[in-house]
């Protein structure tokens, strides 16, 4: 087997969020999630629905650097119609997080106080609605105590504790299947749906992950994240011929 890069390990790990997903929309944020969604579609989830990131559903899973004029489109999905997809639950999104906490609350709005943030980020976007309407997973390319925090400064994507406090309207369709960082794979199988370490990427130790995490991580039965297969690596290379995946990760 060829030895994969860390980025390629992360891509294969993220592709798993869409395994057996059936006919739903995959909405990946970032190059690595985008490659992962296309890898999933090319292998174990051929019915996934992918978009051009603008206003159309595309045919197939072409390389991520395909020019817009070379994409083949099968249907129009202008912004307004996306909410019919989101609120019907037929989507699994992989968002990024500037901060994420022990129960999966996510922040992409602002660091610091809301009236005068220390760092203004993009905004809540659709994260509140996404997280209580359909499966939401996260990709964090820079795992550290600044990104994996005890409490996020702004709750955009809703975690398990906040969803529970908001009641059945919030919990009915709330599900956070996976978090993948540049160091490992996580789920919320810890006590009270807290974050648990599922696997460490090859070359990473459990101690490194624990040290880089700003809250108490549930650690039990940790394995090593599987290497992508040679077939997967060949597809990844074809999907990303220019190596965008290697520029997204900080190790």
């Amino acid at each position: 087997m060829t030895e994969p890069t860390r980025a390629e390990v992360c891509i294969a790990a993220l592709a798993e969020v869409w395994r057996d997903a059936g006919e739903i929309m995959a909405s990946p944020f970032g190059s690595i999630p985008m490659i992962a969604s296309r890898l999933a579609k090319r292998t174990f989830s051929p019915d996934l629905v992918l978009t051009d990131g603008e206003a159309a559903i595309i045919v197939g899973a072409p390389p991520i650097n395909t020019r817009p004029e070379d994409l083949v489109r099968e249907a129009a999905v202008p912004y307004r119609t996306i909410f019919s997809v989101v609120w019907s639950g037929r989507r699994h999104i992989v968002m990024q997080a500037s901060q994420i906490d022990r129960f999966g609350n996510q922040n992409l709005s602002a660091i610091g106080p809301s009236k005068q943030p220390k760092v203004q980020l993009i905004g809540v976007r659709g994260a509140p609605g996404n997280s209580v309407n359909h499966k939401t997973s996260y990709w964090v390319p820079d795992h550290s105590t600044r990104t994996f925090v005890e409490a996020v400064d702004t709750v955009c994507g809703v975690g398990y504790d906040r969803a529970a406090a908001a009641g059945s309207g919030a919990t009915r369709f709330h599900e956070l299947p996976l978090v993948v960082s540049n160091l490992g794979v996580f789920d919320f199988s810890g006590p009270n749906h807290s974050m648990a370490l599922v696997s460490v990427h090859p070359g990473v130790t459990v101690d490194e992950v624990v040290t880089a995490t700003g809250f108490e991580l549930h650690v039990d039965d940790v394995v090593e994240t599987p290497w992508p297969t040679d077939d997967q690596l060949a597809i990844i290379a074809e999907l990303d011929p220019k190596g965008a995946r290697e520029r997204e990760i900080r190790t």
Binding site: Y79, R80, Q116, I122, V124, G126, G129, T154, V155
Partner: protein, 296 residues
Amino acid sequence: MADKRATIDEALDRLEPGMTIGIGGWGSRRKPMAIVRALLNSSLHDLTIVSYGGPDVGLLANSGKATKVVAGFVTLDSIALDPLWRQVRQRGGVDLTEVDEGLFYLGLQAAAWRVPFLPARAGLGSDVLERNPHMKTVVNPYNDGPYAEPEDAGSVFVAMPALRLDAAFVHANAADTAGNATFTGPDPFFDELFLGAAELRVVTAEQVVPEGTLDSVGPLAKATVHRLLTDLVIETPNGAHFTSCAPDYDRDEAFQKAYVTAAGDPELWQAFVERYLSGDEAKYQAALAQDREGSK
């Protein structure tokens, strides 16, 4: 039929300080930038801007024209963050009501339908509710009877309030003199909801054609703004620049980059404002023409 053609000045004359103004488009896409530039040079103040935020929001908030903003995000698309927006937020210079972008859609829809609110799951558990104490929830009234859904019995939902606008400005690829308009690009965004939510409804357009001839510009199915939604029509060629106005033109990425670079440095910004933002629309377009001439 009434000829709704007007000038930018005539439209702005109908605005007053303190008004709530909706701006169409999305991020750095099909923004009515000719109007944004005119607002910057007007005597208006204390405006509330309601927008799927792009450069319109950073420019109006950082200049002090807007003291309040209602938005779910502010982005330049190809450049994720707008430096002007970051600066004004990080100095505490603007009052932001941050809502989920789907709630934003419901807010416009509620205003257009003249109902006080529309319900959603979006927002539950998030800081959208925590930070907006005026935003309320509603308990599902269908807990028994033929319309009851057992799993939602007793559930609480967000009651997104109507986002009523004093005025709305959107930019179309073409409009006719009667006030119909078409978006020939891939996405109409939420523009006709902005118009539906507003008292004064203004469409700027790349071109204004005789009434009843929009089908010569593109498929009639794309002409989703009809004259029941429009008070004024203004021809502003290249009026969305530097945002995209597909298929007429793409985003001017070089110009947007220059805007971002200038915004990061007070001296450069002063020169940028002097060259591009201190005169009327004709002066702006003349400066662009001069840039193109210079780069030949």
